[in-house]
């Protein structure tokens, strides 16, 4: 192309590339690129991810256990208290079935010794 030759002829006096690069730029480029946060490994291996999930679940379980125990302890105490303080006849009072009580005991992981202790505490 004639006009392309015209341009090349005009600029052929120079060394072809008027732009310069700072000393050592390309040598240090990889290091600087790898330091960018966006270049950190974004893929986590499956076992590693499962480990994170397991740790979180265990922490939640440990932290919520005292809350659960407190909740069921209060429920058992208030049930026991209302039974003992009742003036109406046994037949008129709502009766808690053994199954219900055993279920609550299971949730609270409360054994017979603890039940006896609670019941006798308010005598």
């Amino acid at each position: 192309m004639k006009e392309e030759q015209f341009i090349r002829k005009l600029t052929e006096g120079g060394d072809g590339n008027p732009f310069r690069v700072p000393e050592g730029y390309f040598k240090s480029f990889n290091r600087r690129l790898n330091e960018r946060p966006e270049m950190q490994r974004k893929q986590i291996s499956v076992p590693h991810r499962l480990w994170h999930v397991a740790v979180v679940v265990a922490m939640v379980a440990v932290l919520s256990l005292p809350l659960l125990l407190t909740y069921f302890e209060n429920k058992i105490i208030s049930n026991a208290r209302s039974k003992m303080m009742a003036t109406a006849s046994v037949a008129d009072e709502p009766q808690y079935s053994d199954d219900y009580v055993y279920e609550v005991m299971d949730y609270a992981m409360v054994g017979n010794m603890e039940i006896e202790d609670y019941l006798t505490r308010y005598e």
């Binding site: 120079g14 008027p18 732009f19 390309f26 690129l33 966006e38």
Partner: protein, 178 residues
């Protein structure tokens, strides 16, 4: 190591990092110059070049290997350079833009060109950005039109016409500023 081998290593999480470092080593200089001729200053080029490789790193899973690695990287670099210029472009007239480019390059410690080279850069800066890319890839990199078509996602015919018009505009610029 050819493209096929490198792609295999890039796809494997165990070898991805060293393979990517190898990719950076292979292409950083060529991409640097492709970007530099578009954005002109070294600092801006460094930003765009890093963003190019970050995009490539983040897009590795989506890369299907249908295109060559070079074409894929040149395309990312071309888009990043265009996006950069879009964000940077101030509202000014064409004459102001030529003047701004001249001023920028004259004060740039990493620009060594003489008066003619300065005029050439001014003329190139006046081209629409897409046309500028075509001119730079053809004039400086002598990229074949077929490859350029894949990099810029434009037909060969449109690229040839674009280059022809770009060269004419630059030649006219020199004649008017002689």
């Amino acid at each position: 190591m050819d493209d096929c081998q490198l792609i295999i290593f890039l796809k494997d999480p165990k070898t991805r990092e060293p393979a990517f470092n190898r990719l950076v080593d292979l292409y950083k200089e060529r991409l640097y110059w492709q970007i530099r001729r578009m954005v002109l200053t070294h600092e801006d080029t460094d930003d765009v070049l890093q963003n190019t490789f970050i995009k490539a790193w983040q897009g590795l899973d989506a890369f299907r290997g249908e295109a060559q690695l070079s074409t894929w990287l040149f395309r990312i670099a071309a888009n990043e350079a265009l996006n950069f210029l879009e964000r940077k472009r101030p509202a000014q007239s064409i004459d102001d833009e030529a003047g701004a480019v001249a001023e920028q390059l004259e004060s740039d410690p990493y620009f060594d060109g003489d008066e003619t080279e300065l005029q050439l850069q001014q003329a190139i800066a006046l081209l629409p950005e897409r046309q500028r890319q075509v001119f730079l890839l053809k004039y400086y990199d002598e990229m074949p039109y077929e490859q350029m078509s894949r990099v810029l996602d434009t037909s060969v015919g449109a690229l040839k016409a674009s280059y022809h018009h770009a060269v004419k505009k630059i030649a006219d610029f020199f004649r008017h500023h002689d």
